[in-house]
Homo-oligomer: 304 residues x 4
Amino acid sequence: MARVLRLGRAELRVLDLDKSVDYYTNVIGLQETGRIGESVFLKAWDEYDHHSLILTKSNSAGLAHLAFKVQSIDDLAYYEKKIEEFGCTTTRVTNQTRLAEGEAVRFILPTGHVCELYHEIELLGTAVGTKNPHPWPLGTKGIAPHRLDHLLLTGDDLKTVTRFFVDVLGFGQSEKVVTEGEEELVGSFLFTTNTAHDIAFVKGPDAKLHHAAFGVDSLHDVFKAADLLSMYEVPFDVTPTRHGISRGQTIYFFDPSGNRNEAFAGGYMAFADMPTITWDASKIGTGIFYHRRELSESFQKALT
Amino acid sequence: MARVLRLGRAELRVLDLDKSVDYYTNVIGLQETGRIGESVFLKAWDEYDHHSLILTKSNSAGLAHLAFKVQSIDDLAYYEKKIEEFGCTTTRVTNQTRLAEGEAVRFILPTGHVCELYHEIELLGTAVGTKNPHPWPLGTKGIAPHRLDHLLLTGDDLKTVTRFFVDVLGFGQSEKVVTEGEEELVGSFLFTTNTAHDIAFVKGPDAKLHHAAFGVDSLHDVFKAADLLSMYEVPFDVTPTRHGISRGQTIYFFDPSGNRNEAFAGGYMAFADMPTITWDASKIGTGIFYHRRELSESFQKALT
Amino acid sequence: MARVLRLGRAELRVLDLDKSVDYYTNVIGLQETGRIGESVFLKAWDEYDHHSLILTKSNSAGLAHLAFKVQSIDDLAYYEKKIEEFGCTTTRVTNQTRLAEGEAVRFILPTGHVCELYHEIELLGTAVGTKNPHPWPLGTKGIAPHRLDHLLLTGDDLKTVTRFFVDVLGFGQSEKVVTEGEEELVGSFLFTTNTAHDIAFVKGPDAKLHHAAFGVDSLHDVFKAADLLSMYEVPFDVTPTRHGISRGQTIYFFDPSGNRNEAFAGGYMAFADMPTITWDASKIGTGIFYHRRELSESFQKALT
Amino acid sequence: MARVLRLGRAELRVLDLDKSVDYYTNVIGLQETGRIGESVFLKAWDEYDHHSLILTKSNSAGLAHLAFKVQSIDDLAYYEKKIEEFGCTTTRVTNQTRLAEGEAVRFILPTGHVCELYHEIELLGTAVGTKNPHPWPLGTKGIAPHRLDHLLLTGDDLKTVTRFFVDVLGFGQSEKVVTEGEEELVGSFLFTTNTAHDIAFVKGPDAKLHHAAFGVDSLHDVFKAADLLSMYEVPFDVTPTRHGISRGQTIYFFDPSGNRNEAFAGGYMAFADMPTITWDASKIGTGIFYHRRELSESFQKALT
């Protein structure tokens, strides 16, 4: 029973490694778990695996790759075959190419993003342990999210990438944004967990990152995160609000390289048997920003 | 790829049908979706399916049956075979035996509870619809939970029932409570969604219900639910607190027949690759009631 | 011991009385308590007095008058004398000039706003009563604030109006915004209760209203209010955020006549012995919108 | 215009000074601001004055004295006269008898508690300052309340002590608990700020402390405080709930000497013109614990 467990990691390209590590450890509040070459590995306090975020020094910001963890090592071959059948070329990334990771299957999404599937990764454990644990750890810094939550990417052909995630990887489509008469798909929200989205796409240039989202517990924590960003003088894109799509509570802001981050809480439980929720493209403002009811210019730009 | 989607429904035995319907519609805030004989069918506003709760008139309170929804109609035969191989006898419940339901596979859990698997059920849709939806509906009553969340049952042989859920139904075990030296399993928390538990068992008499839990959004909503219960003079078992196990926020109270209900929010995301969290039986007080740090007598009794 | 108890009422000019009453009763969630001529009287559920808001039909929106309730009937003469000594002319408004009100002392603030002091007003009581009360009432509509909280007005000479409130009415100044070298006072926040402001002034045209604020309980309720505004398609000025000044949580939006409203929660406790908090005019963006850290154009306009 | 500003300080007797300072600085999260002899002085981060809590080594726990801050130095003589007229003997506590304090008027309340009025105390300022301040400081420890909020004391003659606070000190009575036919006053809640109580009395032995309450911001912070108490293994008296009286959200727990503490949030705004809310003694369970609706034995004992 092959199954994609979750978005396991994202590798972000950053312009200045020191500044970026400072930001992701002190403001976001992740823990550094290792370094190799010009890459730094980080995890959130409530994640078990060795890392969910990799920062790699580069000349431009953006997403170097994203990777989904699958339920068993055998799933690699299972999905490899399905991906090839879909028409994507796959390669194997060997064990320990990056720190603490096992083998991975690598391929290019129809939207041009580099994607991997993997199962093996070193287990470090959460900050509260697995023996009579406390509900949260003392001494965290900054926003201290529970986990990497989801990515929003841009691409040109959203129908094909949606078909890839649904048919090949077994995702569900929780929500979609369509132009009049459903002629064009301009937003597609896809899930493999029971959250409203593990990955999503909006119409735009191929191979670009719109944002990487970290999961926090509640509206209160989204608001506390917003306060912290002002204390640390981090530039906001979007101050606290609710999404129509997903119903979640949110803020958007930028890392030192210009990669957009989100702190996200809430949202409904998605199930494989749910009908896809449909938004008219003319209502996308309300779908994205339920209160403001219109897209800001900045939110539509600033892709990395 | 067979998969159990969720706890789809619970059928509770109630002593007085009118009083019970009044309570579950006005205080809990479910919607009545149908009646047949001495059974009333209800759904929460955020559920798509025709019902998740059935109230059936009886001479004693308790759980008549629980049922899990599977991903496809073919999964019935798949699991039927596995259940039989495990050593449980299965029968088929025919289409429309109850209102709006398709066929089901029926069997007895190792703890004596009547359990079903099903796929088909009439789709009614949520209160906010699937077209440019608002995040929540106006005009709900009472606690207005999003959904039936989980059940806690009692039974004698928790090792076997855990093995059944893990090996046969593909659940994960998020947490367990064990006596010294892990000699005996006295609590077992099992999940098929990404919540900390979809069903759980504690050591006790076979075939009994400890509680049925409804899912609300946040601590704020748990607290509002508690206020409402006082306004409606519903008897409390446990006032607002946090669980150590699951980390969720909770209150417990009783329906007019003495069936224990819970309003539950929060909790971590569970994944199939998480290690099982272990609680020493000597710490079960903290595991269940993180603040009080000891079990109340009432919580250990009042099984139906 | 004369003392100003609170901002007791505001009279808003509205363009369409029916639309305005519909908005203030169903969206804001006030209760209509009387009508006389082209004026409608309203109170919040947690206020004891007959009304705190009066809507009066007019050809232009804005503030017709504001009024503070004083502790005893003798305080009218006490303050009357002090106001005259300050250099403002006072008149007496006779009993029952408006519905349910006793006599008032009327005068013009140095910023040109019509202001009254009063003690007598009919007591209606809160929605939960004074005998073994529940903490909140069932069946409220809309935002359902606890009370009228404060007003923000504009004016040219903020030093004089501040001196008036401090020296004549015994208010404290909790916060001020000053240009470089404290040359000019461009914002002044004044309190007579223990909240961060009961009335405030920002530099601008005389006799204008910036907003009328209603008090809700918590960030959660501010956010719920924001959701409701989207459901009712009320135009927002500012979506949920925190103030630097007062530390409160806030949203701004417009009534059908264009009068700006605020739903406000939180803020520190102000005491008569607190030093005045000072904001540099160059930091006023952060002072007003702690997250966005800059004033929007719309927030600086739309005075009525 | 004499006026009592607030409960300015409480001096608690503690059995072990080191343990107590550790608890009040690390678990409660106050800041130590000075030591003299066997007394340690502490303030909350959001208080301006030098201290609000004094811990003094003693052979028994309890309240050594409580003190109210008055608006001006002249108020000392004003109240001194009124107190003497009421029939209480006053003495003057000279400047610097304790650290950082000016002169005080000392007297015994009708319930036997030692009480002082003062105006002068050294100003230290809050942790966020008064120049373009952030809304809250980074780096606080433990519960980190904003301020000392109120005291609940026990005494025999509540009518007389109420009359003292209302007639002599100008307090209002927000709520009262009375036996059938209002024959006896068994609970009295009194305010001088706009909070529901600055000091309260319940029927019991004279000169005893029921609890000292610290003010936090919200239900969320009460709950976070409860989590912290479990992490630090502090004994609870009452886990999170709502008060009927005051409507506030609350937890009760014990300091290392057995003095009961409360973390308190919310509650309505009290005004001098509010009618007194009345609770029947038979409803006191609901009045104190709105969810549980009955008093626990422990809550009625454990006076210090």
